[in-house]
């Protein structure tokens, strides 16, 4: 194994860990601007994390070891996911270990642990949040799988790096199914990351919470890790979207050297800035739906993904 690939692999992981809070801060800033509020500074999430790491943990008496381990498991799974997703380069040693279906399994693992930890203390809100999270999760996962199948059909591979390589090899390939998959993906991204049509990330009302309700019992460094993990999750989802739909600029296997790395860095930065603004716009324009409407919302994204498959079969672009 070349040392450059190892360097790339760890570079990509470190970039993901470092940038994820910044991305969350950028979205918060855009939202504030669009809603005519004065925006928090970009580095606000980092300040939050530092403040939380400085504090002492207040732990419930009934907390089991599971409750204490969960933040580390969450953070670990999200970092591993960031290592698998080709956000900067496709030539990654880790990416060969797991394809996109295993990636979804990784996200599911994190979800199971977070839900168990939320129920561990035994408070009503934690249990409620965990149940809601599982409901959203079990509806969002098949939709996400269908979206990925759309891309898999195009290139006959379930690994994200080979999808990106395939796109780069056939830049003129435009398949109409991509539109359906992209719309469905944005819907799933919003639902999975506790964003506005399904969950309000900034709410203070426990009864409407989904994601936040599960974190109510966490404090200090545990809370910091969980928050950081959810920032990483959002970053990872955005990078999956980039790999599936706009893979321009990602350094491929054949590309070598500093220039390709710089191009991929710049491309990722531009895509994150645009995607963050777009997410903030969608969130500002949409109102939170009732929890019982959430299945309808996710069923729609599932149907769109299935439609994408159908459209591909009818008028899919033939691979050169």
């Amino acid at each position: 194994m070349k040392s450059i690939t190892v360097f790339r692999q760890f570079g990509e992981m470190l970039v993901a860990i470092a940038i994820a809070p910044l991305f969350a801060g950028w979205i918060a800033q855009c939202r504030a601007w669009m809603q005519n509020r004065s925006a928090p500074p970009l580095i606000q999430p980092y300040r939050m994390l530092r403040k939380l790491f400085d504090k002492d943990v207040a732990l419930a008496e009934t907390a089991s070891p599971l409750f204490r381990i969960t933040p580390y498991i969450l953070f670990g799974t999200m970092v591993l996911a960031a290592a698998i997703i080709p956000s900067l380069a496709t030539d990654l040693p880790f990416a060969r270990a797991a394809d996109a279906i295993a990636l979804i399994g990784l996200f599911a693992t994190a979800r199971v642990f977070l839900s168990l930890a939320a129920m561990d203390i035994g408070t009503a809100f934690g249990t409620m949040g965990a149940r809601r999270e599982m409901m959203i999760g079990f509806l969002a996962e098949p939709a996400l799988l269908m979206i990925l199948f759309n891309a898999f059909l195009l290139f006959g591979s379930t690994a994200l790096p080979s999808l990106v390589d395939g796109y780069r090899a056939h830049p003129s390939l435009m398949d109409p199914s991509i539109i359906f998959a992209a719309v469905a993906f944005v819907m799933v991204l919003l639902a999975e990351n506790a964003r506005l049509p399904i969950d309000n990330p900034t709410t203070h009302l426990e009864l409407t919470m989904i994601h936040e309700a599960m974190l109510l019992e966490y404090s200090a460094r545990h809370l910091a890790l969980v928050e950081w993990a959810s920032n990483l999750k959002l970053f990872n989802y955005a990078c999956i979207g980039f790999a599936l739909f706009i893979p321009w600029g990602i350094a491929t296997h054949s590309a070598d050297g500093v220039v390709a790395m710089l191009i991929s860095d710049a491309a990722l930065a531009i895509k994150l800035i645009v995607a963050g603004a777009a997410l903030a716009l969608i969130e500002s324009l949409s109102a939170k739906v009732r929890i019982f409407r959430a299945p309808e919302y996710l069923a729609m994204s599932f149907l769109l993904a299935v439609l994408g498959l159908l459209v591909h079969l009818l008028l899919g672009a033939k691979q050169a």
Partner: protein
């Protein structure tokens, strides 16, 4: 142009996407906006077909689409809806997820049905016949599953969009006279239906078409 067919395919997919979005929307004004978008995509695809096939007639029908379906009809419908105060149409006969599922089945049916027909067509856009058929059937489904008169009219207009798209993709459009006639029919139809809305509301104090069943004499 090497990119004509892929772009046309993308536009056709957008058309189908908008049809599904129309099925899922509850607010009437959103429906009108979606209808305008559908017209805009129709305009673009007709222009592309005209450019690639070199038929100048198609430019006229594209311009007609732009004038009528993107500008005039949405304006008229918005004014009608504001006057009638009929912004909401939350009542559907079947709930929305089921409607969407039915829509999916219709799309499969339309694609299957169009497959042998499109084999016989010689145009570059023949694959899109399936999508045009699906758009027609989906608009039909919207007319069936909605209770308010305004939404049914929007469904009717969307169906006309689908027919127009079918004509462009299968045979490079209808003769100009026919197209002008249809355009005029649609315009007059919307005016007359607008009058009907006021009559219906005056009679029943609502635009719910279930009330019409009371008119039956036993």
């Amino acid at each position: 142009m090497p990119y004509t067919v892929p772009i046309l395919n993308l536009l056709a997919a957008c058309l189908l996407l908008i049809s599904f979005a129309m099925l899922s929307r509850r607010r009437t004004q959103r429906l009108v906006n979606l209808f305008a978008w559908q017209g805009a995509i129709l305009f673009l695809s007709t222009c592309l077909v005209a450019h690639s096939s070199g038929l100048h007639e198609l430019y006229y029908s594209a311009a007609l689409t732009l004038l009528l379906k993107v500008i005039a009809l949405p304006l008229i419908l918005h004014r009608l809806i504001n006057r009638l105060g009929a912004q909401w149409d939350s009542e559907t006969v079947v709930n929305i997820p089921l409607t969407m599922l039915a829509g999916l089945v219709l799309v499969i049916f339309a694609f299957g049905l169009a497959q042998p027909i499109s084999m016989m067509a010689t145009t570059i856009t023949r694959n899109m016949l399936g999508i045009a058929l699906a758009v027609i059937l989906l608009s039909f489904l919207m007319m069936i599953t909605r209770r308010k008169a305004v939404t049914q009219v929007i469904g009717f207009l969307a169906m006309e969009n689908g027919l127009f798209f079918a004509a462009t993709s299968a045979t490079y459009g209808m003769p100009m006279v026919v197209e002008l006639g249809i355009a005029l029919d649609v315009l007059v139809g919307v005016f007359i239906l607008g009058l009907f809305f006021f009559q219906i509301r005056e009679q029943f104090e609502s635009l719910d078409l279930r009330n019409m069943e009371n008119l039956k004499e036993d």
